[in-house]
Symmetry: C2
Subunit: 455 residues, 2 copies
């Protein structure tokens, strides 16, 4: 994989489409592309970053393949930092294949997955975090993951972590100085001051780890659970919501341990909608197990839609069940108001401070209002999601946890400077790894193995 080679790959997905983009990068990118164009001289003369139409041909058979546009980017002002050509051709799979074959016959090699970004990294055009951010931008299937990737792409974490690294080095230097001049009073004061500074970092880091955990919890969508007594219309609502909201990332539908769930987009937000077994007192063992599972689902929910029928009598026990989940976002839905007004239930729920709406799913009364309230509740939660400042993916999380362990051990051992210094040094190494200063091939390979060809 010498960088003296010129590489090529299609940068857009396989499939039939209007356009496809093919990239060529490396020292001979211009020459190789020129060999595959009818208008070689025009291409040579065209300034960089200027788009022109050409006819692509096979350099050996001379047969015309397609009318394309090509753009030259001169090193180092390109994505990879090398001379690069972007070819935009018609998006037919055979057209793409023929153009790639032509470029290869003219001397380019097929790029392996992630090779363009790897070259950008090795040429100093991007750092490791930007490479990860690009992967995140491409791979994100949920809004929170995308936000993380966007923040990382804009270099969100870099400045903070540079300061952290400096802080750790400063304290390390002081501790090492102290090892030599032990027992002096003012040194001890500095020592305690240093410990406080490290502890402040610990608190920040802990906050970030917690935020990351919360994001992991909703990265496949906020859990919205439809719960309530039997025969209240839960499945009807489930079907209405599924029907109204087309899914982009359509997770395999199916029943998870008797609980039906479906990935949807509601108001553009990823949601995992869960329908549960109706809750009631029962002697039947199978049903009891189903109810246990419903309770588990409720426990892990972000939003609970509690459906209850207007024509069933109010019970204090039911309200207690709902109120026991007060830490979640709860919406009370009194269904079947075509059958009964359900005044007592509405009154009791509202009085207990639960946002409540009376509907008839059957007669379609207030259904649109219900949908918009559910949408609003989801948006409220997404708006409250706090983005981490430093840790944007699982690699970062792992480093963050390890770093937390090192600096907290350093604090615990603050009175034994040799040991504290050892852990601070480990912490600094971890930050270097985060930045990719120590980029062992292994770390790089791990990041790039998930890339698609053409990136």
């Amino acid at each position: 994989m010498a960088e003296s080679e010129t590489i090529t790959a299609v940068a857009t997905p396989q499939g039939k489409s209007a356009l496809a983009v093919i990239r060529v990068s490396g020292p001979d990118a211009f020459e190789i592309t020129a060999c595959c164009l009818q208008e070689k001289i025009l291409f040579d003369k065209t300034p960089t970053r200027y788009v022109r139409l050409y006819l692509a041909k096979n350099p050996i058979s001379k047969r015309t393949i397609d009318q394309i546009t090509a753009i030259k980017y001169c090193a180092p002002r390109s994505f990879t930092g090398e001379d690069t050509v972007e070819i935009i051709c018609h998006g037919g799979p055979l057209i793409v294949k023929e153009i790639l074959a032509a470029l290869q016959q003219a001397g380019a090699r097929s790029a392996v997955a992630g090779e363009f970004t790897r070259r950008a990294l090795l040429n100093g055009k991007i750092d490791l975090m930007k490479a990860e951010a690009i992967r995140g931008l491409i791979e994100s299937t949920s809004e929170v993951n995308l936000r993380c990737a966007q923040k990382l792409y804009r270099g969100g974490a870099a400045l903070d972590l540079v300061q952290w690294r400096e802080e750790l080095i400063e304290q390390l230097v002081k501790i090492e100085a102290q090892i030599e001049f032990e027992e002096e009073d003012n040194i001890i004061a500095v020592k305690e001051d240093g410990k406080k500074k490290i502890e402040a970092l610990m608190i920040q880091l802990k906050g970030d780890i917690e935020k990351t955990e919360k994001i992991r919890g909703i990265e496949y969508g906020l859990r919205v659970v439809i719960a309530g007594p039997v025969n209240a219309g839960k499945s009807t609502l489930f079907n209405i919501l599924v029907g109204h909201n087309r899914t982009i990332v359509h997770k395999e539908p199916g029943t998870t341990r008797d609980i039906i769930n479906e990935g949807l987009l509601i108001h553009g937000h990823d949601v995992e909608l869960i329908d549960t077994a109706g809750i009631r007192d029962t002697e039947q063992e199978v049903e009891r197990e189903g109810i246990e599972r419903s309770r588990d689902a409720i426990k892990n929910a972000a939003i609970i839609i509690w459906m209850t029928a207007a024509d069933e009598r109010y019970s204090d026990k039911e309200l207690q069940e709902v109120l026991s989940q007060r830490d979640k976002s709860i919406l009370g839905v009194i269904n079947k108001i075509d059958k009964s007004e359900g005044r007592e239930k509405i009154f009791k729920f509202a009085k207990a401070g639960i946002e409540t709406i009376a509907v008839s799913l059957k007669k379609k009364t207030n259904v649109n209002l219900l949908l918009s309230i559910i949408g609003k509740k989801i948006e409220e939660i997404y708006e409250r999601v706090e983005m981490p400042h430093l840790l944007f993916n699982t690699r970062h999380e792992e480093i963050g946890r390890a770093l937390f362990k090192e600096i907290s051990t350093a604090c615990d051992e603050w009175k034994r400077p040799e040991i504290a210094a050892y852990h601070l040094r480990n912490g600094i190494s971890l930050l270097d790894e985060y930045f990719g200063k120590i980029h062992s091939d292994e770390v790089i390979n791990r990041i790039f193995e998930g890339f698609c060809i053409g990136k």
Copy 2:
């Protein structure tokens, strides 16, 4: 669908990839795009067809979405003939979604399938044939279809057909003149001369219709049939070929009427490989039916690979069976030379003029040579495929057949000028339809309904 609207769509396939291209076209394309960029003024100032980096943002939330490149094309020097922007962003599905949403919030409308090309047609940037060619470039899944689309894209047919139309008009004018000045001798001479000219067109058209039929016959791949006596190693060869050649257009595998077939690429060429039941004399009815089907498959084959075992004795009857298919490309394969030299068979086959190779599939003797001979035979046939001059798709074929009927009726009725004139006029109308001069909405809709979004 007023053209005063500015439309937008992604022009690359759905999926995760390095890059995606989004198009914006219409009177407000520049302004709408500018609203979605952090560097609005820079974008306004940037000359057309010059590529620059920008940050795309949502015009309402102002949140940054992605770092993109954008290219402006001024009307009429764009694909659609309208002001157009091409945005190249990271190829994440959510990124694409967010950018499209931003453009829509800034005033663009989602394009319907084929709407960009339709606008190009209505703005006179391309004609109907070029629109069809673009569809062909995108949709082609076989080499011959792609060649047709490429030829059509380069305007291969247009000149010839313009001449045809002129020829038909010229003869029509003469015939109509003749209707008025009947019985003059020199007119009759002109008449016969005119008929000959039309007949010359008929011959050309017939040739083209025949070429098109041949292409239809191989558009899903050349039929390569493995046939021969029972127990000769046919299925072993089938599996070797399937294993060696990865399929791009993988047709549903399966057994077609007891005949196993599989779509493959051999040396980059589409091939439909067919394994047949062994041929032998039998009383068993079921087996006899299988053998009948094998014979049918052989009849429709382009290439026959006749496999026969070296350790089975030579029979004149077998050789006659092979020789009865002399119009096809035949390759004799004497298998199992590990068991017997099979000299007599090799000698008799070769003497009969059949290209023959002796192999042992079991011991892998000459297998690579066999594969390369098969590849060579396929290439020979593909090289001999004649491209039509005028008719490149089923719509053209239909018009071609109708045109042939009209002008041959005109020739038949040459002595009855009113009737001949009527059919010539029909022929001219058909040519106008071919060119899209008469583009009834129906014809246009038929062409565009198969387009993908973003084209």
